[in-house]
């Protein structure tokens, strides 16, 4: 119904116009210390128009899905494009893209729309109980489970008509341990583009136990030391390296601004062990969708192939500028934002070493586990936090210490990747780049050298 209305109104638009419709159904249950803290469901629905007129973009959105308002946003978008044109120096041109007419729905075994919520509430209550019962020193916890069910439509004046339903189910556990005036926290998460079957594949209870174990253990641990060290990055945090150290700097808008990768196509930017991919169709990936928010099919984009920089991530606009094909990386958080270049599922490919084999080569170093937030500058300097640093002495894992933030220059850190493990893990991420978005991050365990921001 809404789609028919949008299609009809789009016919009257000026210049190149897009209309997107987005309905987001969410459900959240969060249990804190045995009590329901959040039990929440909601719907956010709206549409937006983007117009390109003589090389200038305009954008407008609304939550009122009536004929007049749809005409209004189409008109506003065109007017904004015209009004801001004199202030813009660069005329935007778009790379050509086939206008697809298609439908896609997240493959699901258990569609959350068809299942009651009572069972989920019960599950989260039970996990919270187990987490708190893990050890006497667990002081507090929060267990959360979310369903985000997006209905998306993309219509363009070029004739594209794409309907997608993307369902993401994800959860996390936060645990605080206290002992003798010390406090330690730990955090773990699961999640996929999938139905509720994700809870069978990667039980929330398992990560609850992991988080409880970590907080409980680290409460009496010291903070890791500071300095340059050989480290093994756990598979669950290697995605942070892929995302922060290289990913952002390979987004074509940042490349255009002069990121450190801007003159590196065809050049060596990492050790030959490293193959780094951003894949929009990784099965179950948190950033998986069949089409991006410009109606371009997503694809597997190899950014670094055996150490050599091969491609950047593009929107239609940057693809035209760089003279390549769009890669399907233009994504918007919701109908209130225009699409910008975003990663989808970014990972380093696995090789063949076991964790023990990786450790064998390390005389003095750390096995860094559990990710926290990260950030990168366009010059390749990146950082991300770790929760736990297990000391490695002569190839043996010894004491567990509190993790610290690590940093490095992407170039150096990736050149120092001596060996890559076999155990691949993909996990969820939320990336903030002007607007937030779901992103998958992954990889296997690997060895490199980083600066650890620890204590004397």
């Amino acid at each position: 119904m809404v789609i028919d209305l949008l299609k009809e109104r789009l016919k009257k638009s000026r210049g190149y116009s897009e209309l997107r419709y987005h309905k987001r159904n969410t459900f959240t249950v969060s249990v804190k210390d045995g009590k329901i803290d959040v039990l929440n469901s909601g719907i956010v629905e709206g549409a937006c128009a983007r117009a390109l007129i003589e090389g200038s973009w305009g954008f407008s959105s609304t939550t009122v899905l009536e004929r007049d308002k749809i005409d209004g946003i189409l008109n506003d978008a065109a007017s904004l494009a015209e009004a801001s044109k004199p202030k813009k120096k660069r005329a935007v041109k778009l790379a050509s893209a086939k206008p697809y007419v298609d439908k896609y729905e997240t493959p699901m075994k258990i569609d959350p729309r068809k299942s009651g919520k009572e069972e989920l509430v019960r599950l989260v209550i039970d996990i919270d109980k187990d987490v708190r019962g893990f050890s006497k020193n667990i002081a507090s916890d929060t267990v959360t489970f979310n369903i985000v069910d997006d209905e998306l439509a993309f219509l363009s004046s070029e004739g594209a008509e794409i309907l997608q339903r993307i369902v993401r189910c994800y959860g996390n556990v936060m645990v605080i341990a206290r002992e003798k005036g010390n406090i330690a926290s730990a955090y773990e998460s699961i999640g996929e583009e999938s139905g509720l079957e994700v809870l069978k594949k990667t039980p929330l209870g398992d990560i609850g136990k992991n988080a409880a174990e970590r907080a409980s253990k680290l409460v009496s641990a010291k903070v890791a030391p500071g300095g340059l060290y050989h480290v093994i990055l756990e598979n669950r945090i290697v995605g942070l390296l892929a995302h922060e150290a290289i990913g952002h700097c390979a987004e074509a808008d940042l490349v255009y601004s002069g990121s450190f990768l801007s003159d590196k196509i065809g050049k060596e930017v990492a050790s030959e062990e490293v193959t780094l991919v951003d894949d929009g169709r990784f099965p179950g990936g948190f950033g998986t969708m069949k089409y991006d928010d410009e109606g371009v099919p997503t694809q597997r984009t190899v950014i670094i192939d055996k150490g050599i920089c091969r491609s950047f991530m593009h929107s239609r606009e940057t693809a035209q500028h760089f003279g390549v094909s769009p890669t399907g990386n233009a994504r918007a958080w919701n109908f209130e934002y225009d699409p910008i270049i975003r990663m989808r599922n970014t990972f380093i490919e696995a090789s063949d070493y076991s964790l023990e084999e990786l450790a064998e080569d390390i005389k003095e170093g750390f096995f860094l586990k559990g990710g926290l937030s990260g950030q990168a500058d366009f010059n390749g300097e990146f950082m991300f936090g770790t929760q736990e640093a297990v000391k490695i002495e002569n190839g043996e894992f010894t004491e567990s210490l509190r993790g610290v933030t690590i940093s490095g220059n992407a170039f150096e850190v990736l050149k120092n990747v001596d060996a890559i493990g076999e155990d691949f893990a993909m996990r969820t991420g939320m990336c903030g780049k002007e607007q937030v978005n779901f992103a998958g991050i992954g990889g296997p365990h690997l060895i490199t050298k980083v600066l650890m921001g620890g204590m004397k």
Binding site: G42, V44, W57, S84, R178, S185, D338
Partner: protein, 448 residues
């Protein structure tokens, strides 16, 4: 229909369904955003963002639902959804009551500005252009990476089934620029500068442009320094992230009640240097977090949090206050209409000291100054570590070269005991905290 009409309507629906208590929170915002990207005005967005969140309690069981459209039908549906969620919920024995009506103070002065509220897309665009021109014109080596200028005009209303009713308007202007300085064709350093005010009169895009350019230039030609343990001057923004975030977390009554705060049971004890006095002031004139009521409709107030290093009060919402038989301090906060209220600061104000930043620098024999922090802070334990960005080495009272690949680490709860000096120049930061530069000692400064 006014937003209060909508919240009243929601309460009526809920009461008809037979709930024990109901609360409706509605927000209507007009937002204009101008985004700069790749040294260019990338997009301009005009948004109308509206929504209503319904919280209901039935037999001490919670249910919450929200909707982004304001029709009678969607509001009724949200009320029904909240009710049906409460059916699958479990009772919370600690639940006492939603707030009851209390006399609200007058709206704090300067939180709403008519001229600002009526700004159009062109005028917001003009702010971005002014900041842009100032930065570009400052020095040939300076370029702009990205930035964003926003106007947010908000109308918020709360009603509950006990008769609480409140509505208020406010305006907010925010803007930031990320500049880079290039030398010999290579981009070497990046710098961030921002401003946030309630009115156009107080907002200076030129200042943002000039300072972002200055900061980018002062980060050129970086050098590494040997690792040492010593003095660090944190500018307002990093001081807020590193030192204030753990304080905010630790005085949150919910965290204290749950054993998530190291300050549980430490009221009236000395937890920081005597130089540190912190107040939460919801009524602060022109404050970016000021309002006459909090997001449960409870009157905002001024709460002394820390007096000369001694912990004076925790920050409460109605739930945590009821649990202790106390009065809420008016610190219920929501990130949006789609969230349940939690606890946060209104305007957290660190009492300014005497010295200007230059005087603080001149007191340092050996140390560093950090203007941006890219790292992680664990608010519960106070551990922090990350990259010192836009940082310079200080020797014998003078700012020397900028620092390359340098990290800092320490513990915020130790650091606030080791405060050497609090500066005189306070500014608002993104945590709704008003913070001057703060000099701390015994911090790990780490390089390769």
């Amino acid at each position: 229909m006014s937003v209060t009409d909508l919240t009243r309507l929601a309460i009526k629906y809920c009461e008809k369904m037979g709930v024990d208590e109901a609360e409706a929170f509605a927000q209507s915002q007009r937002i204009i955003e101008v985004v700069l990207e790749r040294a260019e005005i990338q997009s301009e967005r005009v948004k109308t963002q509206r929504g209503i969140g319904i919280r209901i309690i039935k037999d001490k069981k919670l249910g919450f639902a929200y909707a982004s459209t304001f029709s009678n039908a969607t509001i009724e549906e949200a009320c029904r959804n909240a009710k049906s969620l409460s059916n699958v919920s479990v009772p919370n024995p600690d639940w006492v009551s939603l707030p009851t009506p209390a006399k609200l103070p007058k709206p704090p002065s300067g939180i709403y500005d008519e001229e600002t509220a009526s700004m159009g897309g062109d005028e917001v665009l003009n702010l971005a252009v002014r900041a842009y021109d100032e930065a570009k014109g400052y020095d040939k080596r300076v370029d702009i990476d990205d930035g964003k200028f926003s106007l947010i005009s908000t109308d918020v209303a709360i009603s509950n089934s006990h008769g609480v009713e409140a509505e208020e308007n406010n305006t907010l202007l925010e803007g930031f620029l990320i500049c880079m300085a290039k030398e010999h064709g290579e981009a070497l350093s990046m710098a961030f500068e921002y401003d946030v005010t309630r009115s156009l009169r107080d907002f200076s895009p030129e200042r943002i442009g000039r300072i972002a350019a200055e900061k980018a230039l002062s980060s050129l030609k970086p050098k590494a320094v040997e690792s040492f343990v010593g003095k660090v001057i944190l500018d307002s923004d990093p001081a807020s992230t590193i030192l204030i975030l753990p304080i905010i977390s630790s005085v949150n009554a919910d965290n204290v009640q749950r054993g998530r705060s190291l300050w549980a049971g430490k009221l009236r004890e000395e937890v920081a240097s005597q130089k540190l006095t912190v107040t939460d002031d919801g009524l602060f004139p022109k404050g970016i977090g000021s309002s006459s009521f909090d997001f449960e409709g409870v009157p905002c107030q001024k709460t002394p949090v820390m007096m000369r290093g001694k912990l004076k009060s925790l920050l409460h919402n109605t739930f945590t206050a009821n649990k202790e038989g106390k009065k809420s301090t008016g610190n219920a906060y929501r990130d949006g209409y789609n969230m349940l209220p939690s606890i946060s600061v209104s305007n957290l104000i660190v009492e300014a000291g005497e010295k200007k930043l230059e005087e603080m620098i001149s007191d340092v024999d050996k140390g560093i100054i950090v203007r941006r922090f890219s790292g992680n802070v664990r608010p519960e334990s106070g551990e922090f570590s990350g990259i010192a960005k836009q940082a310079n080495y200080i020797e014998k009272g003078e700012v020397k070269y900028s620092l390359k690949e340098t990290m800092i680490s320490g513990n915020a709860f130790q650091a606030i005991k080791n405060i050497i000096e609090i500066g005189s120049e306070t500014r608002p930061t993104f945590l709704r905290a008003y913070i001057p530069p703060i000099m701390i000692d015994k911090i790990n400064i780490i390089s390769k």
